[in-house]
């Protein structure tokens, strides 16, 4: 079994396609004065094995959407299903467990622990799954090997280049073979060469079976991907990958 293949976890949709992420009429209103409507009724689904770009300018609601898809925040209205679970019905602790087992995050700022080696940063991707340290490290070695950093295992995160840090972050997101990986502007802090290689890596990983959603403001990156969901003012403007 490949590093990135994962047993079926979500309900098969019609025609045997598995839906790993589903948003139904999701709205998000921040209770500020005046209240801010960040998402105004978003509906879309991500199937297992998809590589999707969510594209939109600043203020379009991308970050809010990422947080809701990643169960870090709850919608004001609507239904969110991740790996077949309705997150509105889960306690905070169960939502945390859902994140630990089913969702991988890649952030623009990498968010690596500065005092840790690349290996331990990746192994910490499994920390909250309950797996023992040796098992975590074994999987972390394999994940780092996959992203091309087999020779950087013992390098402290702060000694790595930007591109290498983002590869470590990607390895950390994938090490637990999550149902879905959410990448928030993964090339935003990188030069174009490193950015291109990260996009290429994400495409390769997707080809190996990983389900990946990339949030970006960069239409060019989105154009590489088989599907792009265009967001504007909290609403879906266009969805290139969905028939109808």
């Amino acid at each position: 079994m490949s590093l990135l293949t994962r047993p079926r976890t979500g309900p098969p949709a019609a025609g045997g396609v598995e839906i790993v992420l589903s948003l139904e009429d999701v709205t998000k209103i921040y209770p500020t004065t005046p209240p801010v409507r960040a998402l105004g009724g978003v509906t879309f689904q991500v199937e297992r094995g998809e590589l999707v770009a969510v594209v939109g300018p600043s203020g379009s609601g991308k970050s809010t959407l990422l947080h809701i898809m990643g169960t870090l925040d709850l919608p004001t209205d609507g239904r969110v299903m991740v790996a077949g679970r309705d997150i509105g019905e889960l306690s905070d602790a169960k939502t945390s467990a859902l994140r630990a087992r089913h969702i991988g995050f890649v952030f623009q700022q990498f968010h690596l622990l500065s005092g840790y080696t690349a290996l331990d940063n990746v192994a910490d991707g499994l920390l909250y799954t309950g797996m023992a340290l040796t098992g975590r490290r074994e999987l972390a070695v394999a994940a780092l090997d996959r992203v091309g950093l087999a020779d950087r295992l013992d390098h402290v995160a702060t000694k790595l280049s930007g591109g290498e840090r983002q590869r470590v972050a990607i390895a950390r997101a994938l090490v637990g073979r999550p149902s879905i990986v959410l990448a928030d502007e993964p090339t935003g802090n990188l030069d174009s060469k490193s950015g291109d290689s990260i996009v290429a890596l994400l495409e390769e990983l997707n080809a190996e079976g990983a389900t990946i959603v990339v949030i970006t403001h960069d239409r060019e990156i989105a154009s590489h991907f088989p599907r792009a969901v265009h967001l504007r003012d909290g609403l879906i403007e266009a969805d290139t990958g969905r028939p109808g």
Binding site: S96, A97, L113
Partner: protein, 404 residues
């Protein structure tokens, strides 16, 4: 229906080793700050351990001294001053006291009025050096538990003759350190041979400044009336209080109120009580230092939680529950306090050892001091870490990630 089982979403429990690893992240990445905040606790614990250790060590020294000297020595003196009598005891007092059942030995001392001791007859009479002349019984040394530094004490052979035994201070003031060759001192109007120098008396310091002659010699050469001014009494230790109660009336049945009865060991016991009072005071100061250390840890933890929002957000994204986050920060506070506590106990023991060694005391560290010190450190750490930990746990993951 979903294909997940209920157990699929049961939050994991971290292994103890993982809790320790995550709790030590802050300490490993911010070593100086961790060391400084642990230092506060360390100073508090060290001062408490040292105070308790030093107090215990000095007390053991004091108790050993009390054991050695006994608490059954009493002194009987005639009161002096207006309405307090003439300063002399009745001639019969010594014999009367000796008849009290539990009294084991008595020893009389008679101050020789008008006589002073000088190193030679060339010294002006006013330069007495504060040395008194006392006529003493030959069993005085036994009764007081004193000892001889040089030569010997009076015995039946020496008592009738012009011989003198010097107290330690008296000998020092006269410049006499040994008796070879033989030394004589000018006492009254005669030369007296010095036959002994005594060690310091621990229970009757006034005799250290005395030149002691035998009762008979005092009568013969110094015109002393041998009327006792002080009587030292050793009693059966079980009846010390009872004997004290009847000593006044026995020594002077006509005017018992003129008699002063003392128990010299009371002074040592009073010193012990005074030490206890100081110990309590210093313990209080140690507790204040500890409290300040705890506030320091709380302060550092609150700052740490603010600074590490991104890490908290990341951990929540990786699947940490609120409890995991709280445990991490509480663990960090406990770890800081433990480092401070262990360091403090070590420092406290070291200081106690150093000082006790310097003073020649046995080194005693009461279990209460080190075990209590560690427990206090952990308690302070827990209290100091609780608020920051709860604050970290309650932090919204989206806020935490956004502010990074």
């Amino acid at each position: 229906m979903t294909s997940d089982t209920a157990s699929d979403l049961r939050p994991s429990k971290l292994h103890v080793a993982d809790i320790a690893r995550t709790a030590s992240v802050g300490l490993r990445t911010r070593k100086l700050r961790a060391a400084l905040s642990a230092l506060g606790i360390m100073i508090g614990i060290a001062s408490m351990v040292a105070v308790l250790g030093l107090s215990e060590s000095s007390k053991s020294d004091l108790l050993a001294q009390l054991d050695r000297l006994g608490t059954n020595l009493l002194t009987v003196q005639a009161g002096q001053g207006f309405g307090r009598g003439s300063g002399e005891l009745p001639e019969t007092a010594t014999e009367m006291i000796a008849r009290i059942g539990p009294v084991e030995t008595t020893s009389a001392v008679s101050a020789v009025d008008g006589a002073n001791a000088y190193r030679s007859d060339y010294i002006p009479s006013g330069q007495t050096g504060g040395i008194t002349v006392q006529a003493v019984d030959i069993n005085l040394l036994d009764t007081l538990g004193g000892s001889v530094a040089e030569g010997r004490f009076h015995d039946e052979a020496s008592a009738p003759y012009p011989t003198v035994v010097l107290g330690s201070v008296a000998a020092e003031r006269m410049g006499i350190t040994d008796l070879d060759p033989a030394v004589q001192v000018w006492l009254g109007d005669s030369w007296f041979s010095v036959i002994g120098i005594l060690d310091e008396f621990e229970l009757s310091a006034d005799l250290d400044r005395a030149a002691m002659v035998g009762m008979e010699a005092a009568a013969t050469y110094l015109d002393d009336d041998n009327v006792p001014t002080s009587i030292y009494v050793r009693t059966n230790p079980r009846y010390v209080e009872d004997v004290m109660g009847v000593l006044g009336a026995t020594a002077n049945p006509e005017a018992p109120e003129e008699i002063e009865v003392d128990r010299p060991s009371d002074a040592l016991e009073a010193r012990e009580a005074a030490d206890d009072a100081f110990t309590a005071l210093f313990l209080g100061l140690g507790a204040v230092a500890l409290l300040v250390g705890g506030v320091g840890i709380a302060n550092v933890m609150v700052i740490s939680v603010l600074e590490r929002r991104a890490e908290i957000g990341l951990r929540r994204a990786l699947g940490a529950t609120k409890r995991h986050v709280a445990t991490q920060f509480l663990g960090e506070a406990l770890l800081l306090a433990t480092v401070g506590g262990v360091g403090g106990v070590a420092l406290g023991v070291f200081v106690t050892g150093l000082y006790a060694n310097f003073k020649g005391w046995d080194i005693l560290i009461p279990t209460l001091a080190w075990a209590g010190g560690l427990a206090a450190a952990l308690g302070i750490g827990a209290v100091a870490g609780l608020y920051p930990a709860v604050r970290a746990a309650r932090m919204s993951p989206t806020e935490a990630l956004r502010t990074s």
